[in-house]
C-alpha cells in the first residue's frame, strides 16, 4: 500500500502553491505508507540548462558532496550549487541532456543523480510528508504541476534511492510514482537492461519509469507508451507520470489499486483517496471520480 497524488493547473503558465498542496495531500494519506515521501515538482521550464539533484550513497566519504560540485564544474558551467538535506542541488548551464548525469556519477563514485530537468525537481527522503517538508521546504515551491508519493515499502529496502518518484532516465523532466507491485519486474528489467538501460535501484516501480523511457527513445508518444503499459506491465498498479508539459496516469486491468480524479476548468487533482483531495479542494461541488480498470488519462499544456 502506498499513496499517490497529483496536481495540475490547466492554464498554460498558471502557477500556485503546488508544494503546499502536494505536501498536504501526502500527509493526509500517511496511513497508506510512512516509510518515505517524495515529490516531482514543476515550474515554468528554463530555456537553457538543467536543474539536477544528486544523492550520495550511505557510507559516502566526507567531502563527496563538494566532489559532486567539482565534477559538475569540470564538465559544465554551474550557475548555482547548494546542499539541501541529503542532496546536492545544481543548476547547470548546459544542454547536454541526461548523459551529463552519467558523467557526474562516473566522476564521483557513490553519487546518484535522481532528478534532472529543465523544470522538474524531485525531492524525496525518509519520514512523513511534513518531515520531508521541514527539511526541504517543499511547501515554498510555487509551480504548475507535480506528483507526490507516500511509501509503504513491500519488496525493496527503505532508503532515499528506493523512494519515489523515479526519474525516467535519461529523459529530462519525466518522473513516475506508483502504487502496487509489478510482478513481471525481473523479466522486464532483464529485457530493458539488454537494450542498454540502467537501473539505479531494486525497486520494482523503477521499471515503469525505465519502460516509459524506452518507448520514448523509440520515438513513441508518452500517451502511446501509457496505453501499451497497461498490457505490458503485469501486476497491480495505479501510477502517475509527470513531464514538463503535464501529468498522465494508468490503472491496471483488475482495478486493484485506488485512484481518483477531480477536475474543473482550472485544475486537476488526483489521489489514491478522496480524503487527500478534500484536504486541498475547497469546492464541494467538485466530485472526485474513481478511474476504471485499464483507464489511461492525460492532461498537458
Amino acid at each position: 500500500m502506498c499513496g499517490i497524488a497529483g496536481f495540475f493547473y490547466k492554464d498554460t503558465g498558471s502557477q500556485g502553491p503546488l508544494g503546499r498542496t502536494l505536501v498536504d495531500m501526502c500527509q493526509e494519506m500517511y496511513r497508506r505508507g510512512t516509510d518515505s515521501v517524495g515529490f516531482a515538482l514543476y515550474g515554468v521550464p528554463r530555456e537553457h540548462g538543467y536543474v539536477m539533484r544528486v544523492q550520495l550513497d550511505d557510507g559516502a566519504q566526507p567531502g563527496q558532496d563538494e566532489a559532486v560540485v567539482a565534477a559538475a564544474r569540470a564538465l559544465v558551467s554551474v550557475n548555482d550549487a547548494r546542499f539541501v538535506g541529503a542532496n546536492v542541488r545544481l543548476e547547470v548551464d548546459s544542454d547536454a541532456g541526461g548523459g551529463l548525469a552519467d558523467a557526474i556519477e562516473a566522476a564521483v563514485p557513490g553519487s546518484r543523480v535522481f532528478s534532472f530537468g529543465r523544470s522538474m525537481e524531485v525531492i524525496k527522503d525518509l519520514g512523513s510528508a511534513d518531515d520531508v517538508d521541514s527539511v526541504y521546504r517543499v511547501s515554498d515551491f510555487e509551480g504548475t504541476h507535480g506528483i507526490g508519493h507516500t511509501r509503504m515499502a513491500t519488496e525493496s529496502q527503505v532508503d532515499i534511492a528506493h523512494s519515489h518518484p523515479f526519474w525516467a532516465r535519461p529523459f529530462p523532466d519525466i518522473a513516475v510514482v506508483h502504487n502496487g507491485t509489478i510482478t513481471n519486474y525481473h523479466q522486464l528489467r532483464r529485457r530493458l537492461e539488454n537494450k542498454g538501460h540502467r537501473f539505479a535501484t531494486h525497486n520494482d516501480s523503477e521499471v515503469i519509469a525505465v519502460y516509459l523511457a524506452d518507448h520514448l527513445q523509440a520515438g513513441e508518444s508518452l500517451e502511446g507508451a501509457l496505453r501499451k503499459s497497461v498490457t505490458d506491465l503485469d501486476g497491480t498498479f495505479a501510477y502517475l507520470v509527470s513531464t514538463k508539459e503535464g501529468i498522465g496516469l494508468a490503472r491496471d486491468q483488475f482495478a486493484t489499486k485506488p485512484l481518483l480524479y477531480a477536475e474543473d476548468e482550472e485544475l486537476v487533482v488526483l489521489a489514491s483517496e478522496e480524503i487527500a483531495i478534500r484536504r486541498v479542494l475547497g469546492d464541494p461541488r467538485l466530485q472526485p471520480h474513481e478511474l476504471q480498470a485499464k483507464e489511461v488519462r492525460w492532461w498537458v499544456n
Binding site: 482495478a255 478522496e274 480524503i275 483531495i277 471520480h289 480498470a293
Partner: protein, 237 residues
C-alpha cells in the same frame, strides 16, 4: 421525550474518527433518532457497527472508505461520495449515497439496501449474500463478482466481467455491458421482474417502466468442476 430532543448534530471538525463514532453511538444511546453529521471530509470508517431501527444518519459531505460497515438497521444518507467498501457486511438497513462510490460497494452485505446515485468503482456487490444494491449510474470492472444471493440493479452501463463467477442472485442492467463474466448468462425478464424493478426503483425517482433492463443470472456451470469444460474453467480461474 419530545420530538425535538431526538434530533442531534455532530461536527467532525477537530474530532478524531474514533471520537466522532463514539459520539454517534452515545447519541443513539441517549435516544437521538435523527443525527446530522457535518464535515466528514471523506475520512474513513465512519458510522460502523450501529444496531438500531428508526434511526437516520445524515452525512453532509463525502465519507471515506468502509463507511456504514457492519450495520444492522439504520438508514444512512450521504450527501457526497463514498470511498471503498461502502456498507460492507451490512445486515439490515438502508444506505443512500448521493454521489459516487468507490470499489467494493455493498461488499458481502447480507440484507438491507444500498443505493448509489452516481457510479461505482470495481467489484460492486462482490460476494453479496442477500439484500439489494441499486446503482443509478454505471458500474466498474467485475461488478457482482461471486454474487451468492440478493439483487443488483444497474441503471447505467457495466464494465468488463459483469457477474463473474456468480453463484446465485440476479443482476439487472439497463445500459451497455462491456462483457459478461465467467458463467454469467442472460435470462428473460419476466413480468414479476418488471414489477419488482418498478417497486424497488420508484422511491429513488427512477421510472423502471421507461427503462429496458437486461437480466443476468448464474449459468450454474461453475457449481461443479467438470473436466469436460476446460475452456470455461481456464477462463474462470
Amino acid at each position: 421525550m419530545g420530538q425535538l430532543t431526538t434530533a442531534a448534530t455532530i461536527d467532525c471538525e477537530g474530532l478524531t474518527t474514533r471520537e466522532a463514532n463514539q459520539r454517534i453511538h452515545a447519541l443513539i444511546k441517549e435516544g437521538a433518532r435523527e443525527i446530522g453529521i457535518d464535515n466528514p471530509r471523506a475520512r474513513h470508517a465512519l458510522a460502523p457497527g450501529i444496531k438500531a431501527d428508526d434511526l437516520t444518519l445524515e452525512f453532509h459531505g463525502p465519507v471515506g472508505w468502509y463507511a456504514a460497515g457492519m450495520n444492522d438497521g439504520p438508514r444512512i444518507r450521504v450527501h457526497g461520495n463514498a470511498g471503498w467498501g461502502l456498507a460492507e457486511c451490512m445486515m439490515r438497513g438502508q444506505v443512500e449515497v448521493y454521489g459516487h462510490a468507490g470499489s467494493g460497494a455493498a461488499a458481502s452485505i447480507r440484507g438491507g439496501l444500498v443505493y448509489v446515485r452516481g457510479d461505482t468503482g470495481a467489484r460492486a456487490g462482490v460476494s453479496m449474500k442477500g439484500g439489494t444494491l441499486i446503482v443509478g449510474g454505471s458500474v466498474g470492472y467485475m461488478t457482482g463478482f461471486m454474487l451468492q444471493a440478493g439483487t443488483i440493479i444497474i441503471c447505467g452501463g457495466a464494465a468488463d466481467g459483469l457477474g463473474d463467477s456468480m453463484y446465485a442472485g440476479s443482476i439487472y442492467v439497463a445500459g451497455p455491458v462491456e462483457s459478461l463474466g465467467a458463467d454469467a448468462v442472460d435470462h428473460p425478464l419476466t413480468a414479476e421482474d418488471q414489477s419488482m424493478l418498478a417497486e424497488t426503483l420508484d422511491p429513488f425517482g427512477i421510472d423502471a417502466g421507461t427503462t429496458k433492463f437486461r437480466k443476468i443470472e448464474s449459468g450454474h456451470r461453475l457449481w461443479n468442476f467438470s473436466t469436460k469444460e476446460p475452456e470455461l474453467w481456464r477462463h474462470a480461474l
